[in-house]
């Protein structure tokens, strides 16, 4: 196993390494909280688990496997104590992802990947409905392409991964592993677009991209990540602007309706605009620690790339013009946003619309006599729900107690749990529990297990969970945005960990000064603007818009 003890493997991402010592500290703190259930588990736990419990701390250099945190030891650092440790614990314990073999990379495990698939399924349909076709561009881009758009190369060059050797030979030209595809797309658009009849050209691709980042965090920032990138070319600036707005609107609806994340949609400041874009629209989400997460962006590229690449068309008057372009993307980072928006001390909390498992059925029996009846009922409930298109799983494993299963599936964020015991079987009913409302309050007894009633009830409950997740995220967000009218108020709000919203018309330098002094950046000029005259919080000059400042991921 020596091979696995490479520097590249053991020097895990900085965030993770920092979290590790704290983790062991909190594990001890956490134990009393769960001592009752822990005792119960130890009776039931398999030898395998004991083995793991007996192993030395996982990050010890002698550890032979690429592991960061224990999997079976399901204790999660409380969110309020250490948000970052909590986040990493959830990712490990809910089996969303694991660290990759190369520093800063990530293995997306089936449960995490299923969330990405749900995101893909929704967006892919929306992209097609809005007239986009999928295609696939090569991953390798000649370095000379990247250099063509000056601000683009400036923005990306420190993060580029370069391939210089292939098939045992030094390559003639170094190749860039795509960090984004504007350059290669434009290179091809130049060959495909001749006349106005070829426009608009609207494509999308689902792909992996690479940015050699130094500070990484699973899902939020990794060397390689998955995303979709849309690229379009239009005959007029108006059309390009309309497209850029249309796509940020698709993202906004997705965030609200599917992910239950009440993002703030707006325009980036000049400083924060994408390298090579004229305008960048963004959706900004507030995480549980009140930091902002840029969850999706849509760029109006103007003619910046078409001028650099000579992407021209003959217009209806027979004149040659450069095309007007957009690009837009959402990535696996969004999964990090879902975790950090909804999760709590018990673990992950998934919005029903994106949850790989919407309902977990847990059969409960003590006496051997009851077992068959309970299992039968559980599996028929499962089939009833499945037939109605609900994503449901029945956990009938015998080596685990019901209590263990409750905790486990709560930790995995499954929105609804159905419990079925012997008494329920004789009553032909089930107990339904909501993940988002802990304890008895979220529990409803005596729901009929007959198909039409049960299906309607469960669907209704899933909808309720979906909208109540959105509502509580909304009130959290709104309670943590302060309206400020001076720089001192801004500093105070940021110091309290809040988002600061205030009128802004100051210079780029002053924006950078705010960043330097407070750590906050302009997240966006929100589309939703208060009415009335405004004065810049920094300069006192008239301001047209309010901006939102926040610390961000």
């Amino acid at each position: 196993m020596g091979a696995l003890r490479l520097p590249s493997l053991t020097s895990l991402s900085s965030a993770a390494a920092a979290a590790a010592p704290r983790y062991h500290f909190y594990r001890q703190l956490c134990l009393p909280l769960r001592s009752v259930s822990a005792a119960k588990f130890s009776v039931q736990s398999s030898t395998v688990e004991k083995e793991i419990a007996a192993t030395p701390p996982e990050l010890e250099p002698t550890s032979q496997k690429p592991r960061l945190q224990p999997e079976k030891d399901r204790v999660i650092t409380p969110r309020s104590q250490d948000f970052n440790a909590w986040y990493l614990d959830i990712i490990a314990n809910a089996e969303l992802a694991d660290y990759g073999p190369v520093r800063g990379t990530m293995v997306i495990r089936p449960y995490g990947y299923a969330i990405w698939e749900a995101i893909q399924d929704y967006l892919n349909v929306k992209f097609k409905e809005t007239g986009h076709s999928n295609m696939y561009f090569p991953q390798f881009i000649p370095y000379s392409f990247i250099e063509k758009e000056a601000s683009h190369v400036e923005g990306f060059s420190p993060e580029l991964a370069l391939v210089t050797v292939g098939g045992g030979k030094e390559l003639e030209e170094k190749l860039v592993v795509r960090p984004t595809s504007e350059t290669i797309v434009n290179h091809m658009f130049t060959q495909w677009i001749h006349s106005y009849r070829d426009l608009p050209l609207m494509i999308n691709q689902w792909a992996n991209v690479t940015r050699w980042e130094m500070r990484t965090k699973p899902f939020v920032r990794t060397l390689e990540f998955l995303w979709q990138e849309g690229h379009t070319a239009h005959a007029s600036p108006e059309e390009a602007e309309k497209e850029a707005l249309q796509m940020i609107d698709v993202y906004t609806k997705f965030a609200y309706e599917q992910a239950a994340i009440p993002v703030v949609v707006g325009r980036k400041s000049k400083v924060e605009t994408f390298a090579g874009a004229s305008k960048t629209y963004t959706i900004e989400a507030m995480m549980g620690d009140r930091k902002a997460l840029q969850a999706g962006t849509s760029h109006n590229l103007g003619q910046n790339f078409s001028r650099a690449f000579g992407t021209q068309f003959m217009d209806e008057n027979g004149e040659r013009q450069h095309v007007w372009q957009t690009s837009w993307a959402i990535s696996t980072r969004f999964i990090g946003g879902i975790i950090m928006t909804h999760g709590d001390d018990a673990g992950l909390m998934l919005p029903p619309n994106l949850a790989p498992i919407q309902v977990i059925v847990v059969p409960i029996w003590k006496k051997a006599d009851d077992k068959a009846g309970v299992l039968d009922a559980a599996s028929s409930v499962k089939e009833t729900l499945q037939a109605a298109g609900i994503r449901v799983k029945c956990d009938d494993a015998e080596q685990r107690t019901p209590g263990w299963k409750f905790n486990f599936w709560e930790m995995k964020g499954v929105p609804l749990r159905i419990e079925i015991g012997p008494r329920d079987v004789s009553n032909r009913s089930v107990v339904v529990c909501r993940r988002d409302i802990p304890g008895k309050q979220g529990k409803v007894f005596g729901i009929s297990m007959e198909s039409p009633t049960l299906v309607a009830y469960v669907k209704g409950k899933l909808d309720e969970v979906q909208s109540s997740l959105l509502e509580s995220a909304k009130s959290f967000r709104d309670g943590n945005i302060s309206d400020v009218s001076s720089y001192s108020e801004l500093r105070e709000a940021i110091a309290q960990g809040k988002w600061a919203r205030g009128p802004w018309s100051a210079s780029d330098d002053e924006e950078l000064k705010v960043k330097e002094e407070t750590g906050a950046t302009i997240r966006c000029f929100p589309f939703e603007q208060p009415e009335g005259a405004k004065k810049c919080l920094m300069t006192g000059n008239p301001a047209e818009e309010v901006a939102i400042f926040a610390k961000s991921y």
């Binding site: 091979a3 990379t105 995490g112 295609m135 370069l162 390689e224």
Partner: protein
Amino acid sequence: MGGKDAMISKDAKSSNAATSSGAKGKKEVKKETGLGLSYKKDDNFGEWYSEVVVNGEMIEYYDISGCYILRPWAVSIWEIMHNFFDAEIKKMNIKNCYFPLFVSSTVLQKEKDHIEGFAPEVAWVTKSGESELEVPIAIRPTSETVMYPYFSKWIRGHRDLPLRLNQWCNVVRWEFSNPTPFIRSREFLWQEGHTAFATKEEADGEVLDILELYRRIYEEFLAVPVIKGKKSEHEKFAGGLYTTTVEAFVPNTGRGVQGATSHCLGQNFAKMFEINFENEKGERAMVWQNSWAYTTRTIGVMIMVHGDDKGLVLPPKVASLQVIVVPVPYKDADTKGIFDACASTVKSLNEAGFRAEADYRDNYSPGWKYSHWEMKGVPLRIEIGPKDLANNTVRAVRRDNSSKNDIPMADLVEQVKVMLDNIQQSLFDAAKQRRDTCIQTVYTWEEFAEALSKKKMILAPWCDEEEVEKDVKTRTKGEMGAAKSLCSPFEQPALPEGTLCFASGKPAKKWTYWGRSY
């Protein structure tokens, strides 16, 4: 800035032509009116193929040799196959996941036989930004060595088994042999399944279940006949126990194509990567593993088998556009009436679940449109002109055999369904017939050599010895490339006692297909 831009773009084009060795027959500028192919499939297959993938808008050549741009027309076919296969493996309880693109060199080199097979083709990242990496990092040529350390970590007890994972991703193999779009490219898309079981029986069973899905992709979706069989020791996956394959054949070139493979890896990787579990008796045991993959190569095989001198011919099941409706207005005709009829035809077809569109462009003649959509291989064309309008009929023309049918509007959906089903079936039947006439059974070396020179797919009795296969390769080396074993079919013809190996003269053990291959 404008003048400079123009120069840059010219430079890009000329360097394109110079560096892209794969871009044979590529025209400098795509002509809008230059429909039709300049090469015939039977006369110059290689040039025909290079041209048809570009003119059919499947592929665009790119500045980096061996890398191709997959255009929407190709990606939509990939998506249709993806949807089928993904749903089937999910029914089998196989889960999707995603492992990193980057592999550290030590992990890559862990399995010796395995890496010997791939090492010469690896692309290496050596720099990030301006700084040199301490250790170069490889880009995955396949993911066995990336994934299996995690299998070792995740698998503890028998309850963790089976572990059945799949991923859809890109892989890179930096080959220098002649790149061919879809068939051999330096970056390609694929799915790779990796599974671990407690017993060999379970692993064996899955190998065949997956192989059957691959057969269905080829035969039911792409209408390409394949032969299921087992690879020889020499041709099997490096580091595995045995390899099963679906083999296709391209009659024009007389070459076999490994369509997709499903490998049983045995316990070799489990040993190297320490993938152990505690079985029900509390003993430590090693897992049994499989890996299996199909790639964008499938699309290339389909093009080669079905395409003709007019362009692509797409089987209806994978065509992103199954029916193209072309209005045929005349000077004095009721143009609006014709356009309305086209719209309602498209609407009825879409509602019935067919993928149909109308081509209303006014800057192209109907004749141009016919050629255009024939080039793109749309299975069925519906023409609506004044006469059709008057008779309340439409004219349907099949892409595969050009046969014309007048269909009453009232029977539209029903008849289109029948026609598309027929096209799908007859593409398969025709391909099978062509393939079958290429299969030749031989018993001696002389017969073998002659059949090979006639570009046959050769079925021969074989002693199943690796040395003999190597010898066959040496003896057939030539301009066209050496012959090798393609597979030993699962369906074995009778092998009477005393039958001798065609190559060694030793007693034969099995029937095996031989030929040149891609």
